[in-house]
């Protein structure tokens, strides 16, 4: 214990190390991967993101009767690996730094569907 006391005394005078999170929000790092942003205008519904998603968080649903195609994104399954953002040929997906908040129910996000 005596060897530790030097540290303890130093810590006593060096001010708090704690990040006061909910009160002061730290600026996220520019490379942080926290949220998948989707731009439906650029999307061509090619389905590459749905095929390569390792967590099956993205799927493309096709409604042949009503000629609708829509992209379904489940943010609860997303592992933020940014594989889809890397491989999207249209550049309609990218990772954003702002994190998701907590939620009390699971929901999936449907994209604006496209007429085929």
């Amino acid at each position: 214990m005596p060897l530790m006391s030097g540290n303890l005394i130093k810590n006593l005078f060096s001010g708090p190390a704690t990040r006061p999170y909910p009160i002061v929000k730290r600026e996220p790092f520019p490379r942080a991967r926290a949220r998948l942003a989707y731009d439906p205008d650029k999307c061509t519904y090619c389905g590459i993101c749905a095929n390569i998603c390792p967590a099956a968080a993205i799927s493309v649903e096709e409604d042949r009767e009503n000629l609708h195609i829509s992209r379904v994104y489940n943010s609860f399954a997303c592992i933020s690996c940014a594989r889809c953002a890397e491989l999207c040929p249209q550049g309609s997906l990218r990772m954003e730094v702002s994190p998701h908040g907590a939620a009390d129910a699971k929901t999936v996000a449907y994209s604006a569907s496209k007429e085929t």
């Binding site: 909910p22 967590a55 099956a56 907590a102």
Partner: protein, 152 residues
Amino acid sequence: MGFLKRARVKSPWILHYCTGGCNGCDIEILACLTPLYDVERFGMLNIGNPKHADVLMITGPVNWKNREVLQRLYAQTPDPKVVIAVGACAATGGVFHNCVNTLGGVDKVIPVDVYVRGCAARPEAIIDGVVLALQKLEEKRSGGVAHAAGAR
């Protein structure tokens, strides 16, 4: 009585259990307890006994062997209780969605009140989740009191 119940919301005790994830969320939960995020300033305490806990923090996609342990832990926690599912695999199975021995989410076994997204969930997100869980706890508590008064 009022004092005890208020103390519970002001100072929730957390039981953390890993049901077979990758550990990433577990170390982030532990990181929440250490100086840089220090959730103890909200009065939260990580404890090892479910009988003292108010909030269950569950990580991982629940496997078959863990299922009974989890059910038992849930049954041992006194009411009112709140369950937080931390991480993508606790919510939906995440990257383990096609693994043979997983059930794909905590909500397949016990009711979940709060989901925290991310893989691994960041400490900030976990603190957000706990804050939401406390609101839920308060709601449950007031609901529970009304019910008890009605029964009497």
